[in-house]
């Protein structure tokens, strides 16, 4: 992927990470993995990888508060 295209994409991913309070470059890591997977000829199965990213993303966060935030938002 050409550098200037990639730059636009990564900038937008970083912006969305910020808006969604994702602090570990989750979107960029997932994007890079998807890019690598596209070259593989075997079927794509990223469930464990993504589950791991989600778990790491929630490390150190108070889940009660985190889920409550959503409840508050939706009310």
């Amino acid at each position: 992927m050409e550098e200037s295209r990639k730059k636009i994409l990564l900038e937008n991913l970083a912006k969305e990470e910020y808006y969604n309070n994702l602090k570990n470059k989750e979107l960029e890591i997932i994007f890079e993995r998807e890019r690598t997977e596209m070259h593989q000829e075997t079927a794509r199965n990223l469930e464990d990888f993504l589950d791991d990213i989600v778990n790491k993303s929630l490390t150190g966060i108070n889940l009660e508060d985190f889920t409550q935030e959503e409840n508050d938002e939706t009310q």
Partner: protein
């Protein structure tokens, strides 16, 4: 990626070693390949496909594909064991690379059986080659260091693919070679997955789509499923969980219905384009029939003119042949200068000789008029000298010797011209007839196609509306489902349930992030492609400004199907009326190709075969300038007959190098750089 050099050994028509330097020179990046058909110009592109992707992909507009054994030079394999290879030297991301891909082969022994036809013999060679050819190594060298590959064949292959894809994606290879004759198809063939797929890949959208798909799968199939299961197990949340379950199944059903409708819509879209092509072909047939009518008129005219000319010649012969004979006769007499004193006797004698021989000096038989004339001269008691002088004065006074010959030749030339016209027109008519025979549809079929096209368009619109409604329905049902899931979450949750609710929420945040990114990137990049294509289109068509049918703008719809804007009217698909001419389609496609090259991301050389095929002359210079202005490495393939073409001349002014391909035999072409 910029090509510096390509080496080919025993590859396709290149017996032994051949190499070409494609490096830019003095800032010029255009490389010209000149040669007749079959001399090996396109083989250079096949060689690049082979060295990068291992398999020979498409050759010249998908007309042909080659298997690995087809790539080995036949002359060489019939001589000895050996290796065929292609090596490409290029620059990518400021690094110097070379890729080499080899094919190993063993000698084949085949004598031509005299009873075999050439085709049978060629097939036999092909079958033998198949048995004696094996794929060789792939070697990549980066800045002088050979790259190591894993020993496991599967891992090795994946690693090689990954390295190559980072430089030049295989899927996009069809965007490197443009056949001038075929290029307009980019505007008429539905982009379907092929073009959409590759544009999205180049823009990075496909990776985002895959991320969205994978995260949605994780959320729905794992986290939400767990939430509903844990909710059901809890007495207080059981009711909410069941409601969520029902809502989820309703959404799934609606989504299934949407998928089916989308398939149906795709089918109608393909039908619309197919039927548009049939109708387009019909309009082409109409044009051909009109041309046949004109040819018939021209043929009748040429026939009549030739008959008139033949009659004229016959009359002229009848009237003037005796004079012509006399001219020859005069020559004969006058050439015998030593006989001057006895001229009269010799005139009589020579006339008698001519009568005896029955032919003139030009070996033409004597007709009655000529015979009568000679008889007069041959009479011993006649005043031959007087007759001779009279003839001499009449002939020279009326025609002159040269004049007679010229008049004669003029008649013959005229007849010859008419014969050639008739042959040419007959040939053209036969060709048109054969096209019509193989492609024409009966008027009933055309009417049916027109009705089917209309129905397919209506169905397509109906399904689009229904899909919009379904999207709204899914959105509403998704909100209902979210509410139901919130009810589960808000009720007396246990710790494990909280964990899954948090994971599901995190997953949703990531999906939202990717979706928003996709929207932004598509908007930015698609707009850039459209704007640049519009700019090129306007530059190329500047000469036709003011024409209400003139091309004005360029759009890509959501499926990346090309739409055009004219000076008046709404944006239209190229299958909509007024259907663009072939020349216009070629310009639209060229603008798309150039814009895609600039904005779709990957710098790579572009090959354009016969760039001006079917193009109106007024646009060729503009197209050549547009290509030159791109400042990309462009390889133009052309035929010697196109040398004087204005566009080719423009390319030649800006060329880095020019290579001439000469076919010495079927299996032996040579390439030399021309000055």
């Amino acid at each position: 990626m910029k090509l510096n050099k390509i080496e080919m050994e025993n590859f396709l028509p290149f017996y032994g070693h051949t190499e070409m330097d494609f490096s830019p020179k003095d800032g010029n990046k255009i490389v010209l390949l000149k040669g007749v058909n079959g001399a090996g110009k396109s083989s250079t592109f096949t060689a690049l496909n082979f060295v990068f992707f291992g398999t020979p992909v498409i050759v010249a507009g998908e007309k042909e594909t080659l298997d690995i054994h087809d790539l080995v030079n036949t002359k060489k394999i019939m001589e000895s064991d050996g290796t065929a290879y292609v090596r490409v030297h290029f620059q990518h991301d400021s690094l110097q690379w070379s890729f080499t891909r080899k094919i190993n082969f063993k000698k084949i022994d085949i004598e031509k059986d005299p009873s075999m036809s050439n085709i049978e013999h060629a097939n036999k060679i092909r079958n033998e080659k198949k048995k004696n050819v094996t794929i060789g190594d792939f070697i990549a060298v980066k800045n002088g260091i050979t790259m190591p590959w894993p020993s496991d064949p599967r891992l090795r292959k994946n690693k090689q693919i990954e390295e190559i894809e980072n430089i030049i994606p295989k899927d996009s290879s069809k965007y490197y070679f443009f056949d001038g004759e075929e290029i307009s198809k980019y505007t008429t063939v539905p982009p379907k997955d092929s073009i959409k797929h590759i544009i999205e890949k180049l823009l990075g959208i496909r990776m985002i789509d895959n991320a969205i798909k994978d995260l949605t799968g994780l959320k729905e199939k794992k986290y939400d499923k767990e939430i509903r299961a844990l909710g059901r197990a809890n007495k207080q949340t059981e009711g909410f969980a069941k409601t969520a379950e029902v809502k989820k199944s309703i959404i799934d059903m609606t989504k299934d219905s949407k998928i089916n409708k989308e398939k149906e819509k795709d089918h109608h879209k393909s039908e619309i384009l197919r039927l548009a092509a049939v109708l387009d072909e019909n309009s082409e047939i109409k044009k051909k029939l009109e041309r046949i009518k004109i040819i018939d008129t021209e043929l009748t005219g040429a026939d009549n003119a030739m008959i008139a000319e033949q009659i004229g010649l016959k009359q002229w012969q009848g009237k003037e042949l005796s004079i012509l004979l006399s001219v020859q006769f005069l020559f004969r007499i006058n050439s015998k200068k030593r006989l001057q004193p006895r001229r009269q006797a010799h005139i009589t004698q020579t006339a008698a000789e001519c009568l005896e021989q029955g032919e003139c000096i030009c070996k033409r038989s004597l007709d009655e008029i000529a015979k009568d004339r000679l008889k007069e001269l041959a009479k011993k008691d006649s005043n031959a000298l007087e007759n001779f002088e009279e003839a001499n004065s009449v002939i020279l006074g009326k025609w002159g010797v040269k004049g007679l010959e010229q008049t004669w030749n003029l008649h013959l030339r005229q007849i010859d011209d008419y014969q050639q016209d008739i042959a040419r027109l007959t040939r053209e008519k036969e060709e048109l007839d054969s096209v019509i025979d193989t492609a024409s549809h009966s008027s009933t079929e055309i009417d049916e196609a027109r009705n089917d096209h209309k129905t397919a368009k209506e169905e397509h619109k109906r399904l689009s509306d229904e899909l919009n409604e379904l999207d709204k329905l899914i959105e509403t049902r998704q909100l209902e489902y979210d509410d139901a899931m919130n009810d589960v979450r808000k009720s007396n949750v246990t710790k494990p349930l909280t964990e899954f609710i948090a994971k599901s929420k995190r997953c949703k945040q990531m999906i939202d992030g990717f979706e928003q990114t996709k929207e932004n990137v598509v908007r930015i990049q698609k707009k850039a492609i459209e704007d640049f294509a519009t700019e090129i289109l306007q530059k190329i068509t500047a000469s036709s400004g003011g024409d209400p049918r003139g091309l004005q703008g360029f759009h890509l719809d959501d499926t990346y199907t090309i739409m055009i804007e004219r000076y008046v009217g709404e944006p239209q698909y190229t299958s909509d009326s007024p259907i663009p001419s072939k020349g216009e389609k070629q310009i639209i496609a060229m603008a798309f190709v150039l814009a895609l090259t600039k904005f779709a991301g990957i710098e790579r050389p572009i090959f354009i075969d016969t760039p001006f095929a079917r193009l109106d002359n007024e646009f060729t210079l503009s197209i050549a300038n547009a290509i030159i202005e791109q400042d990309e490495q462009v390889v133009i393939l052309y035929q010697p007959g196109e040398l004087n073409h204005e566009g080719i001349q423009r390319f030649r002014e800006c060329r880095a190098s020019e290579w001439e391909f000469t076919k010495l035999s079927v299996d032996n072409s040579v390439v030399v750089e021309t000055q």
